[in-house]
Symmetry: D5
Subunit: 146 residues, 10 copies
Amino acid sequence: MNKAEMKEAILEAKFEKGLKWSDIAKAAGLSAEYTCSACLGMNHLEKQNAEAVAEVLGLGNEISTELQRFPHKIWSQAIPTDPVIYRWYEMVGVYGETIKELINEKFGDGIMSAIDFTMNIDKQEDPKGDRVLVTISGKFLPYKSW
Amino acid sequence: MNKAEMKEAILEAKFEKGLKWSDIAKAAGLSAEYTCSACLGMNHLEKQNAEAVAEVLGLGNEISTELQRFPHKIWSQAIPTDPVIYRWYEMVGVYGETIKELINEKFGDGIMSAIDFTMNIDKQEDPKGDRVLVTISGKFLPYKSW
Amino acid sequence: MNKAEMKEAILEAKFEKGLKWSDIAKAAGLSAEYTCSACLGMNHLEKQNAEAVAEVLGLGNEISTELQRFPHKIWSQAIPTDPVIYRWYEMVGVYGETIKELINEKFGDGIMSAIDFTMNIDKQEDPKGDRVLVTISGKFLPYKSW
Amino acid sequence: MNKAEMKEAILEAKFEKGLKWSDIAKAAGLSAEYTCSACLGMNHLEKQNAEAVAEVLGLGNEISTELQRFPHKIWSQAIPTDPVIYRWYEMVGVYGETIKELINEKFGDGIMSAIDFTMNIDKQEDPKGDRVLVTISGKFLPYKSW
Amino acid sequence: MNKAEMKEAILEAKFEKGLKWSDIAKAAGLSAEYTCSACLGMNHLEKQNAEAVAEVLGLGNEISTELQRFPHKIWSQAIPTDPVIYRWYEMVGVYGETIKELINEKFGDGIMSAIDFTMNIDKQEDPKGDRVLVTISGKFLPYKSW
Amino acid sequence: MNKAEMKEAILEAKFEKGLKWSDIAKAAGLSAEYTCSACLGMNHLEKQNAEAVAEVLGLGNEISTELQRFPHKIWSQAIPTDPVIYRWYEMVGVYGETIKELINEKFGDGIMSAIDFTMNIDKQEDPKGDRVLVTISGKFLPYKSW
Amino acid sequence: MNKAEMKEAILEAKFEKGLKWSDIAKAAGLSAEYTCSACLGMNHLEKQNAEAVAEVLGLGNEISTELQRFPHKIWSQAIPTDPVIYRWYEMVGVYGETIKELINEKFGDGIMSAIDFTMNIDKQEDPKGDRVLVTISGKFLPYKSW
Amino acid sequence: MNKAEMKEAILEAKFEKGLKWSDIAKAAGLSAEYTCSACLGMNHLEKQNAEAVAEVLGLGNEISTELQRFPHKIWSQAIPTDPVIYRWYEMVGVYGETIKELINEKFGDGIMSAIDFTMNIDKQEDPKGDRVLVTISGKFLPYKSW
Amino acid sequence: MNKAEMKEAILEAKFEKGLKWSDIAKAAGLSAEYTCSACLGMNHLEKQNAEAVAEVLGLGNEISTELQRFPHKIWSQAIPTDPVIYRWYEMVGVYGETIKELINEKFGDGIMSAIDFTMNIDKQEDPKGDRVLVTISGKFLPYKSW
Amino acid sequence: MNKAEMKEAILEAKFEKGLKWSDIAKAAGLSAEYTCSACLGMNHLEKQNAEAVAEVLGLGNEISTELQRFPHKIWSQAIPTDPVIYRWYEMVGVYGETIKELINEKFGDGIMSAIDFTMNIDKQEDPKGDRVLVTISGKFLPYKSW
């Protein structure tokens, strides 16, 4: 079994059981965002969390074991085509330099970590049309001189 | 004058006057994020805001006029190399499908707009290392059938 | 079953039954354009429409279920090679800036949505050679400042 | 003088005179879409039209001569980044095969010409948000066997 | 059955029967060039021609049906590597602008069609080494203004 | 002076003098196709031919000298965008394998030279629309074993 | 059977029989370099040579037949990664213009053929470290004017 | 002064003085191949050699100094377009694996150095057409385990 | 069996037996780094080492044989996406020129070998967060003139 | 002044003064590696260090100011061509997965930072040929779940 097979099995089981990512996340004791990313093969879970995820999905040991393996994070489209993901790519293109300017101004020379990092996606109801509210928190890492 | 020359003139004036993006934004009556992106040539300002920005920077009419022009949003690196911006590109690669899954689950089939959109970048003090807190709100747009 | 298998099964059934896209669309209660795009795996159908499509094609539940799943919109050729599709790519290359100029002039700074969007393809008879008449309507989305 | 310099001179004169593309097109006796594309360097104008365009813009002989030259149609971004133009690229990616299916079904094996071709861009007022209405007519060209 | 499988079956049958493209073309009542391109999956044949091709190759109905389907013209190498095909790519690189200059001079602004198009490949005996003689005829299509 | 400057000077002089490629070619004592390609910087001319070309264009020694230099044949677009040249690229994509099949069948394993090579472009009048007639003759070069 | 399957079968048989390329070449009556390239699928062998190769490897008719087919020369890595092959790519990058300068100086404007071509690879013993000695002979082909 | 300016100055002086690479190489006391590559900016010369080259070309100190600088070896075309250089690229594509097989067989696992390396280009007269004879000698470097 | 299958078999056996790379390396009598790279298919092992590796993993002859074959070193991502490997790619981008400057200054014109090369990866405990300590030793190879 | 102009000015002054990177580093009170990278425009220096560097090079205020600006880290070659830098790229390609395996085994799931990072380059004398010894220390950053 590999991550791609695991992902397919999880998505199928989730669909058949009519579960939501928040249900699976609750079982894992983690956020829906992190749990989902692990189920898609982009993060790993600790043993206990992995077993809880496999159980709620009615899947066996193999899935739990695979969820614990450290993933190779690979994406094949340098520029994503799906409109949901492309809009984020576009956001990085349009606002990337702005983000850099403001981080540099507020923190000094350094980066915002994509490793020590959390992301939450919420629904913001709005009479003019609901909005997606995303909150991202990444540790600031200063460049080190030596 | 074009956007690239405008950007250079603004960055130079900002540096010489020792202004922060928040100072310029206050003059514009807009957020630091949007104001910065307009000064970098990735958005336009309305006449009144543009004149205020030019004034606080001690720059003339040409800058104000250029700030009002609608930009062609162009970036030359399909995969950005600067580490600050690359980490965001990586985030889209690693979490893009997760974002899609959760938006689809909470809102149905559709996208999060990168046009009707706001982004705020804040400093979150933390004894284990300060964090960059980013809040993004984008309107949900459902796919339309016909 | 995935979208690629669904597409293959639909095209085969359509061929064997001698149906036209307009026949299938009538069953779906939608336009031929949207219905066709859903059958090719680029859009989803609501339950009722999906079942009607599966039925008219003499296909079972699996197809109907797959038609309802939200697609990942992926195309593998950054520059399409088939001459029909390339001509459209060329049109975007040649007239893209013109489209931008005219939208900006008539509506202000913003974009034409590719999500809240309809497209119709008709035959225009002409003694000098028939013509393809395409009508596209996309919602204007103004850039938002904040 | 080359097409790039011509384009810059025209855009500047248009801005200073406060003209719209429809004003320039009226002088040329052509549509705003075609006139605009010629002024951006992507088509040529016949002598009489070119002179009328130069005149209404208050520009001299050089511009008129350059407008008459047959352009090399070159675009440097295989995948455009400006959101207005990208949305059209996306439309070709998502609906390209659908367009091919429907043209093939209605006309037989062949293409829709991007040479014998017209495009019109109109504003469609709508209480739920104005829409961009684009009408494209391209001659059908059947593949020839021999 | 798809075009790739059809191509493989035809090449195998052609090899086993010791047929030449000219033999197959004669059966089809078309040129060797067009017939070959259809057998390789890059054009379609009308019913009668397709059946004649299948028959001369001793192949069944499936092949005849597949030959009649309109192909998606796809090539995977943007720059071909096989020396025979690369030399043609090189020719387009070296002489492309020359071709454009001469077509423009003789015909006006427009293109040479690759759809209403014929190509013949002949052997020209020559004591200094035989030559490949290629004759291509493409309809001139003038750019249309509107 | 380099080939790019030479090309620009020649095109300007040709335009001002109202010369055709066939006029310049007559002076050179060569075909219009080869002469044009040399003037665009893609081939070189022998001394006598180069001087005749410079003279008919009213250009000096520098141009004649530059025309004699052996060019570095460079094109910057791996996939050309101008429609005239793209159609030729497409022709190589669609018919490349066909060309290979027929050359191999008629001549054996080898290639058609793009070096020992001639190309002629003629106008073929036709009541259904004039046609571009292109005749290409390239020496067959058999692969050598050793 | 195709060239890829043939290559795999030959490499396996060669390994099991403990043969060297020079042994196989001797059977073929050709050089080790050409024979090896044919066995890897990049050249073809005449009937007699192909049968001798198949025989010495203990392989049947299928292999002999496949060795006789004219190959499509395809490589998938535009820039090779294996260090042995990359060093040759680097050599072309570093010395390509030097090679061109010297060929042009010694022979005039033209190329060195990669078709009428031989290559030999020998071991040159050297106390400071053995050296690979490569001798390449390619026919000079002058550019032809017309 | 940089390597590009140096190269241009050297090529111009060489042309005006009517020197051959072999003349310049004799002055340098090195081969024509190495000397040429240094003059094109792809290698450096020791002080004494550099001064001799500058002198024979009638160029001053700046050239001599620049010739001594260690170059950054940069080429901008991943796949070269000039036919002379492309044929070498093709040779690497077609024969790369053959070279690897034979080096591995004769020397063991390792590479042929492109650093400790010599290349000579000679003219081989031949009644059937002169040939370019290239001799390359590169040190074998075995992979090291640890 | 090929290198990819070998790698999969080894990783599975390693996981099931709960072995570390250092355990396998000890059996091989080589470093963990080199042993690991050979098991991943990027280097070969001598017979004795290969047999020891196969034995400690409880794998048979096929694995041992495959470990001895000289690999084709191929990686499919020109720019790696996994964050661990990307950070190294970034390091080469940011510090590549610095490395070149310092090697050139300390050793003269030449390179650091990636063939005669060792790499060790150690854990450096640190109260502010453990560090990865990498030590690389590559032979300096001076450019050779001739 | 920008980073590129700064770099050029520093390299010229360094050459004229005959300074080594270690001399400049001593003035800066930092390592040669970090100082060099800042002078090449890939890192910034604190005010005091920047002034010391400018002084030792005999350069003025502008250089010192520019050295203090936070750089945009941009490299234009996705795959570097200079052999010194390419060998490092190759090392990442060949050993990237090995590095990941060993870091994961010793530290758990996470990365080695390229931000909190030091690199030292030393000369290791060796009778069989001097070696470049590189020592890199990067902080381990564990992936965070949430």
